[in-house]
């Protein structure tokens, strides 16, 4: 067990290092963006004098390393600082959006993970059957369309007929029930987009195992095919499945800006685009760090879980 904790500790430290390097990269990249915040804030009709006044006020005239250092020390103390554009605490700006993004990600995950595992197991069980081919073809078709296209098709079929709303409104009075209903279409869109990947990985991992001698043994014992798959194949196939699920979860958190725009969903992606177009660098950095942290943590979780589910790795010390 201590080995496991040591591994988690090591991974966390490495994750921190990764995040630090990412923060440098992000800062460098945002420095390369043309244009400046003052101009974006005041718009096309701003004069040089007002621009200069605003730049001075926002501290944009400091050299880049100084600004980076100020920001980094703030983050280490848990303070992301103020948004340059709105002068509001970034934690406040990002907090609500992060909640929305996580909600949508979890909603889509709750739909897509059981669905793809089920389809994957059944497809492996009945491989090369009509069911296997049909579910494969459908999943691949769904993943091959661009997200916005899937979204518009769903709006045409399910929103314009009045079954589900075409846009999501989240206010203080929105209950979880309302939200589950109004966010169904974006969650379904994401489900269609991520299902193929997980389902095919599940199917491949199980089919791979079905050729092993111990499965042969189980069959020879006279077990039912379902039992063979569920009791003997699935536990050993968990590691690759967990990894692909973690990757897709990270994608659901970080890569859904198109779906957010089409369904007017107030998530982190839209906030990041706003921040980039307005050159609100601290917000961009904060969100990029959150995204990077999501990848690092989910990968860490996937590693730990695949170790835990594999006794050979657990008792290796």
């Amino acid at each position: 067990m201590t080995g496991l904790w040591r591994m988690i500790g090591q991974r966390l430290l490495l994750g921190m290092l990764t995040l630090f390097i990412i923060s440098v990269v992000i800062f460098g990249a945002t420095e390369l963006l043309p244009g400046d915040l003052a101009r974006e804030l005041l718009g096309q009709s701003a004069t040089e004098e007002t621009l200069a006044a605003l730049r001075e006020q926002l501290g944009l005239n400091d050299p880049a390393p100084v600004r980076y250092w100020n920001w980094l020390t703030g983050v280490l103390q848990g303070d992301f600082g103020l948004s340059m554009a709105t002068q509001k605490p970034i934690s406040e700006l990002v907090g609500a959006r992060l909640g929305n993004t996580l909600f949508l990600a979890l909603y889509a995950a709750a739909l897509s993970i059981p669905l793809s595992l089920l389809l994957g197991v059944l497809a492996a069980l009945w491989r090369n059957s009509v069911f296997d081919r049909a579910s494969n073809a459908l999943a691949l078709t769904a993943i091959s369309f661009p997200e916005f296209f899937v979204a518009y098709i769903l709006i045409l079929w399910l929103a314009q007929t009045g079954l589900f709303p075409s846009m999501v409104r989240i206010t203080g009075a929105t209950t979880t029930g309302d939200l589950l209903y109004s966010a169904f279409l974006p969650a379904l869109t994401l489900t269609l987009v991520v299902t193929a990947h997980m389902m095919r990985m599940t199917r491949a991992a199980i089919i791979n195992l079905l050729a092993s001698p111990y499965i042969e043994m189980a069959r020879l014992k006279g077990m039912s095919p379902m039992r063979v798959v569920l009791r003997h194949a699935v536990p050993n196939a968990l590691a690759p499945i967990i990894n692909v699920v973690a990757l897709n979860l990270a994608y659901l958190i970080t890569g859904v800006v198109v779906v957010e725009v089409v369904f007017v969903y107030p998530g982190l992606g839209q906030l990041m685009i706003d921040a980039v177009t307005n050159r609100d660098i601290p917000v961009v950095q904060a969100i990029a760090l959150i995204f990077a942290a999501a990848y690092v943590l989910l990968n860490l979780l996937a590693d730990v879980l695949s170790t835990v589910t594999n006794p050979r790795l657990m008792h290796r010390t």
């Binding site: 963006l33 043309p34 244009g35 400046d36 101009r39 974006e40 804030l41 005041l42 718009g43 096309q44 009709s45 701003a46 004069t47 040089e48 004098e49 007002t50 006044a53 605003l54 006020q57 948004s83 554009a85 709105t86 002068q87 700006l93 609500a96 518009y152 709006i155 929103a159 314009q160 009045g162 709303p165 075409s166 846009m167 409104r169 989240i170 206010t171 203080g172 725009v261 089409v262 369904f263 007017v264 107030p266 839209q270 906030l271 706003d274 921040a275 980039v276 177009t277 307005n278 609100d280």
Partner: protein, 520 residues
């Protein structure tokens, strides 16, 4: 019932050729608007889907720059002066205004108006609100309006503004959307406050997402602000906006994509409101950079493309041909009788010859950030110009950073203006020599002199003559190609009723749909 609200007989060329009575020109609502004739009814939740808004928006009036914050402001604030739907000034917080010499302006402040917080509005609040845009430390976009202002003071129930030179249009400037009356504290307003004296009180606001406001029960205007609640939603994606209207998630949307207008009309759930105003799309040429230094080159370009084609294809007919004139049909002194410039390759060649050239090669930088369809417009122009031996190479540049890296940096690019209700405002902003936003860097001594002289000219007929001469100068000697006025195109659910006249000075009934419209 959902025809264009711009009657066919009065479009485009009709406006330019005929010299129609132009004070009425914006407006536009023919007989099928029977809805509009009914008495306003109270009640309902009015939801507007707006194609602007960003999480960086804020409450500071000096920084407002797009339709979401402008409409949000009109819902919660009042201004000194309102521009009525017919283009005339009407009293709002200022009961009346007067000036003996055009340089000292006295605004009489209305009594009995209170802010949402309950505080009574005083002339001191007005002074504090105006001073927010004055001075070196101000970051306001309308700071230049206050450059000529030497003093603002309270005199009893009046606010007295002193200018360093007469300006007959000063009250018009006071109607600008940047200048709401906000509560003052020790001579300053709190730019982060939501407090105003408008028809609706802010319940919640999430920048870049939505704003919800409830009717102000103590609103001083009895015949305005008919809705119980206003919900403004940012919906950036044009298709999402259209979907929201068709699935009854919102009652009104702005900026309908011209390509989808006929589709929307065929569904019968909404009607299109297409309002011609002063907004225009343009292509400034840097008058300091060869070959645009020569007016003959500029004239050759002005004759070398088909304006009507641009209106038909880029605006889908929701606009009108412009004659390189930034003063639009909604302006008081619009010069309708000016000689039109039709597509004429021979004239273009003639001007090229005058400039000592037989062919011309220029590069036009365009991005759709300038206006929707700018790149297509540039391509159309380059196709047509070829017949006049003019090669226009279209340089497609990124949207991101367009106003920083291309506009006023490249010698020939695309741009747009929302138009201004006052001629002086438009010219001073973009055509006066050395003005900060003089995007073509054009400089003309005769024009500059006329502009200054017209400000203090109080005789209306003489002023009209001066402004017409200025429009002629910009059109025939200026360095900006202005091929078209773009309409404000909105879509309204059938339940939404509007007054007979819808304002054309800005989008969404001059931002005041929230206050002027109702549910039938």
């Amino acid at each position: 019932m959902t025809n264009l609200t711009f009657p066919r007989g009065m479009t485009r060329r009709g406006l330019l050729k005929g010299g129609v009575a132009l004070t009425a020109a914006g407006l536009i609502l023919p007989a099928h608007m029977a809805l509009a004739q009914t008495e306003p009814k109270k009640g309902g939740v009015f939801r507007v889907g707006i194609g602007h808004g960003s999480s960086t928006d804020g409450y500071d009036p000096g920084l407002w720059d797009q339709l979401f914050v402008q409409t949000f402001a009109a819902a919660r604030h009042n201004y000194l002066i309102e521009i009525a739907a017919d283009g005339n000034l009407v009293p709002e917080i200022a009961e009346s205004w007067d000036s003996a010499d055009g340089a000292t302006w006295v605004f009489r402040i209305r009594q009995g108006v209170s802010f949402h917080s309950g505080k009574a509005l005083t002339p001191d609040d007005v002074v504090a609100s105006l001073n927010h845009h004055r001075g070196d430390a101000s970051t306001s976009a309308v700071k230049p309006y206050f450059d000529p202002v030497t003093d603002i003071r309270v005199d009893g129930q009046n606010v007295v503004v002193t200018l360093n030179a007469p300006n007959a249009d000063f009250p018009y400037l006071m109607s600008d959307y940047h200048l709401p009356v906000m509560p003052g504290m020790d001579g300053k307003i709190d730019p982060a406050s939501t407090d105003g004296c408008g028809g609706y009180i802010v319940e919640s606001y999430e920048p870049g997402v939505q704003a919800t406001l409830n009717r102000n029960p103590n609103y001083w205007k009895p015949d305005r602000a008919h809705f119980d609640q206003i919900v403004l939603l940012t919906i950036l994606d044009p298709a999402a906006r259209l979907n929201a209207l068709m699935t009854s998630e919102v009652d009104t949307i702005d900026q309908v994509d011209p390509a989808s207008i006929s589709l929307l009309e065929s569904r019968g759930v909404a009607r299109i409101l297409s309002i011609s105003g002063n907004a225009h799309y343009c292509f400034p040429m840097d008058a300091r950079a060869a070959p645009f230094t020569d007016n003959n080159v500029r004239m050759a370009l002005k004759y070398a493309f088909d304006r009507q084609e641009l209106v038909d294809k880029i605006l889908a007919g929701h606009g009108s041909v412009a004659n390189d004139n930034p003063i639009g049909p909604a302006n008081r002194y619009f010069f309708a009788g000016m000689e039109a410039k039709a597509y004429d390759p021979d004239k273009a060649k003639f001007h090229l010859k005058e400039a000592g050239m037989d062919k011309l090669e220029v590069t036009l930088s365009a991005a759709n950030a300038a206006f929707s369809g700018a790149v297509d417009a540039a391509v159309l122009m380059s196709e047509k110009a070829a017949a006049a031996n003019i090669t226009i190479t279209v340089d497609r540049v990124p949207d991101d950073g367009y106003w920083d890296n291309v506009w006023m940096k490249k010698p020939f690019c695309a741009s747009y203006w929302g138009g201004r209700p006052v001629e002086d405002q438009m010219f001073t902003t973009a055509y006066l020599s050395g003005a900060s936003w003089n995007e073509s860097f054009w400089s003309n001594e005769a024009f500059d002199k006329l502009l200054v002289a017209a400000r203090s000219e109080l005789d209306d007929a003489k002023r009209r003559g001066m402004y017409q001469e200025m429009q002629r100068l910009v059109s025939f000697e200026g360095s900006t190609i202005i091929p078209m006025y773009n309409n404000y195109v909105m879509a309204l659910a059938n339940t939404v009723a509007t007054p007979e006249k819808v304002s054309n000075n800005w989008n969404l009934d001059g931002f005041r749909c929230v206050e002027r419209w109702w549910f039938a």
